[in-house]
Symmetry: C2
Subunit: 343 residues, 2 copies
């Protein structure tokens, strides 16, 4: 083995395993068997491996550029998160470059490679809907580029995260519609493997349970854009057992439900209530204006940027910090008013 | 002077002028005096300066990454242009990274520096509203990074451009409203130094002239977002000489006009017609849905990407190519119907 400070690559070569395995073993990644983890950590200790000094050396070759990977820039939530990211970046004299995965796993892999080539010093990621493998995220960590997930987080990688309190968001919104008299509430959600889908659905389900309302499988649908919101709402509203409210994954879906309701002559909010999620720009352009859940995207961006800068500037700290951003129900005109004598 | 292939820096040193001046003189930039231009070009010729081989050497150190600078990603037009850019990039195995200037000149300057650091091989730019100096764009060219402008073009730099046919867009929309009976059409525009503002305003003015309608200064306002659209429309609709139509710079402005009209109980389109520009996502969410001008943003992005790839791959070609994207009037429900016996 060569003289001087040893690297992850040296350890990998000596133990005849991949550099990625070494990095994960050193980071106590649960994917690595306890045997391998112990072997790697023992070897690293004996040979005085110092992750931080190496990371710092590498980092000094890096820039003051933070890379951001988002599913889709045309989605108002993500462009609003970026405003928060830019704000904190400006304050600390960092620059921001953005890539979009367009909800495509293989494009997201190329985004990662591009950001490594562009010599970013840290990456903020909200993963694509189609991502179920995480080697590319690990590649960033192996290149000593710290990462922080936001909104659509990856539970397979042990790093800091900024999430929206999705559970409470849909719980509170669903409960509000129940309190205004709705009893048959449909849920239009996103692909079930995403953490945000699970959490929003659980908030919805728990609100029904709390109020002893039946849970109907037919009312739990996959529909997370305007077109699908429109189609799904039309089918449900034409069915015998039609719902009297829609809790939607986002405002685009809710706007599709609204179009279906108008087309069928169903009065909003008298006959059906509709709640979106995001408080995006379109939520005040529809007529009636959408009741929705504000998830403070700029705050998500600010917190994510704060966490990544902390990591970039203190690479020796191993602590994993998470942030949860509280949501707020914005009551507009697609839901009914609470009864006056409501306690 | 050192041996071998001479560079722009060598010429600059020998002639005691800046590298940027040499580059501009070699590119026949009109900002450089004819004397200096001749001096530089003569010197370059005598010393067998070859711009292309040098550019190609430099370029080989570059990447397959195209940088994009846009004013604001939250604006649907720009995120849609990006879709077109990404499409062509995918086809040719190029990667795209994006920076936003947030309409701030000094941030746009830092965007340029960031993209140079990130080793992009070409840059697509739509300039910020506050940009009136162009040295930073020239810096890219001086670094042998070709640039193409799109939509908000910079007339001070001699390079390829992709523009929307803004003039015909507002001309046709204004003429349509005249043909439906409107006689007092207000124009809500953007800062007058931008080429797109001038062209859209000229289209509006020429339509009035063609139909012998008076041009009223009070009807030509600066208002290019929802809030300003709302305020301006409210003032105009409360004035004695109120307009019967609004030709707006974009759909956001038009949506603000619509809110003002509803608030004042002014019927759309019976009492006033409203036309937006962009055919952005909100234009189908308003009620009534907006009549607007489609400027085919994805096509703008595709053409811009085609032009920059041509430059990246054929650095020896000096030809300046421009593309004009035709617009199309999308008639929805905020304007009246043409009279049936209209010829």
């Amino acid at each position: 083995m060569k003289k001087g400070q040893i690297t992850i690559k040296d350890i990998a070569k000596e133990l005849n395993i991949s550099a990625s395995t070494v990095s994960r073993a050193l980071n106590n990644n649960p994917d690595i068997s306890p045997e391998t983890r112990e072997l790697v950590q023992k070897f690293a200790k004996e040979h005085k491996y110092k992750p931080n000094s190496m990371a710092m050396n590498l980092r000094s070759k890096h820039s003051n550029i933070i890379g951001v990977i988002v599913p889709e820039l045309a989605n108002h939530f993500f462009s609003s998160v970026l405003s928060g990211i830019e704000l904190v970046a400006e304050e600390h004299d960092y620059q921001v470059i953005v890539c979009q995965s367009l909800e495509d796993y293989s494009k997201e892999v190329r985004n990662v490679q591009t950001l490594i080539k562009a010599r970013v010093c840290g990456v903020l990621i909200s993963q694509s809907k189609t991502t179920t493998k995480y080697e590319h995220f690990q590649e960033l960590i192996d290149n000593d580029i710290p990462i922080i997930f936001f909104d659509r987080i990856c539970t397979g990688i042990d790093t800091g995260k900024v999430v929206v309190d999705d559970y409470s968001g849909t719980f509170n919104a669903t409960e509000y519609m129940i309190n205004t008299g709705c009893k048959r509430i449909a849920f239009l959600g996103a692909p079930p493997h995403l953490e945000i889908s699970k959490n929003r659905k659980n908030g919805y389900l728990d609100a029904l349970r709390k109020h002893h309302l039946p849970i109907e499988d037919d009312f739990i649908c996959g529909a997370d854009n305007k077109q699908l919101g429109y189609q799904t709402a039309k089918e449900l509203l034409l069915s015998v057992n039609k719902p009297d409210a829609f809790m939607c994954m986002n405002d685009y879906t809710a706007s599709g439900v609204l179009v279906a309701a108008k087309e069928l002559g169903v009065k909003v909010p008298e006959e059906i209530s509709i709640c979106g999620f995001s408080n995006s720009n379109i939520s005040q352009d529809t007529d009636p204006m959408l009741t929705t859940v504000d998830q403070y995207p700029a705050k998500v961006g600010e917190e994510a940027m704060n966490l990544i800068l902390e990591k970039v500037n203190n690479p020796e700290k191993q602590e994993r910090k998470n942030r949860i951003i509280k949501t707020n129900l914005i009551i507009r005109n697609t839901t009914k008013q609470l009864p006056e004598n409501e306690e």
